[in-house]
């Protein structure tokens, strides 16, 4: 009774991932798109840690650690790019920086 089935954790991970994808596809502000990407990465981290529990190995935790490190590096560079784009275009709406289309 006081134990949680593994499939619940994996379902939660899938729900968070789907919400991240929805945010990524439907939001127009670049910062919110970035935050949806971070949400997706967190969902994947939950999956990794769940499987580390299932197979009783610590490798899942190591993968989570690397995902966190890469996410931090990506956030730093991505936010610097956003700052540069904002300096040049004065907008945070990704529809308005589509001047190279067509």
């Amino acid at each position: 009774m006081s134990a949680v089935p593994i499939s619940w954790f994996l379902t939660l991970s899938a729900v968070l991932f789907a919400l991240g994808v929805a945010g990524f596809l439907f939001r127009r502000s670049i910062i919110t798109v970035f935050m949806s990407i971070e949400l997706m990465l967190n969902a994947v981290n939950l999956s990794f840690v769940t499987f580390a529990y299932k197979y009783q190995q610590v490798s899942g935790h190591l993968f989570t650690f690397f995902v966190m490190v890469v996410a931090a590096a990506e956030a730093a560079v991505g936010l610097a790019i956003i700052l540069t784009v904002f300096k040049n275009r004065a907008t945070l709406n990704i529809d308005e920086v589509a001047s190279m289309k067509d």
Partner: protein, 166 residues
């Protein structure tokens, strides 16, 4: 007890994640994302991943999200404007998403039958010693490569963020 804890924090995580996607002002999304990360840290503790839980709060919620909030404050990002999207897409989108997630949940349940359960204390190999040992023996090469990656990211951020020289 574990079920109650899981349900509470999973509910908080899902509600906060929906809030991230739905809120118009980026700062509200950022604060909700911090809530998601906090509740995920508690779920990691339930899964016996104590070092990863601490790293999640220190690195992700305590540094990466502070960076996001800084950028939102510096750019004075305002609330998003309304976009002209068709009413049909808005009405069909949410139910379709729920249906998709229901199908996914069903398949996950079938793949992992109830025999494997998570109990607090069921996995004791997630301590800092175990993670450190694995990090410096089996995973030494990825560790060194990620430190190089961080160095490249630092250089990139500095170059992109500096003032223009004329």
């Amino acid at each position: 007890m574990d079920v109650v804890l899981f349900l509470i924090f999973a509910l908080i995580a899902v509600v906060a994640a929906i809030n991230v996607v739905v809120q118009t002002h980026p700062i509200a999304s950022a604060v909700s994302l911090i809530g998601v990360m906090g509740s995920l840290a508690v779920l990691y503790l339930l899964l016996g991943a104590e070092f990863i839980a601490a790293a999640q709060v220190i690195v992700y919620a305590g540094a990466v999200m502070v960076l996001f909030i800084f950028v939102i404050m510096l750019l004075n990002a305002g609330a998003e404007g309304k976009t002209g999207r068709s009413l049909m897409a808005q009405f069909l989108g949410a139910p379709l998403l729920v249906a998709f997630l229901g199908v996914l949940a069903y398949f996950v349940q079938r793949l992992f039958p109830d025999s494997s359960k998570v109990r607090f204390g069921g996995f004791t190999g997630g301590s800092a010693q175990a993670v450190g040992r694995a990090l410096f023996t089996t995973y030494l090469l990825p560790f060194e490569v990620t430190s190089l990656l961080i160095l490249i990211a630092i250089l990139g951020a500095i170059v992109l963020g500096r003032k223009e020289l004329d």
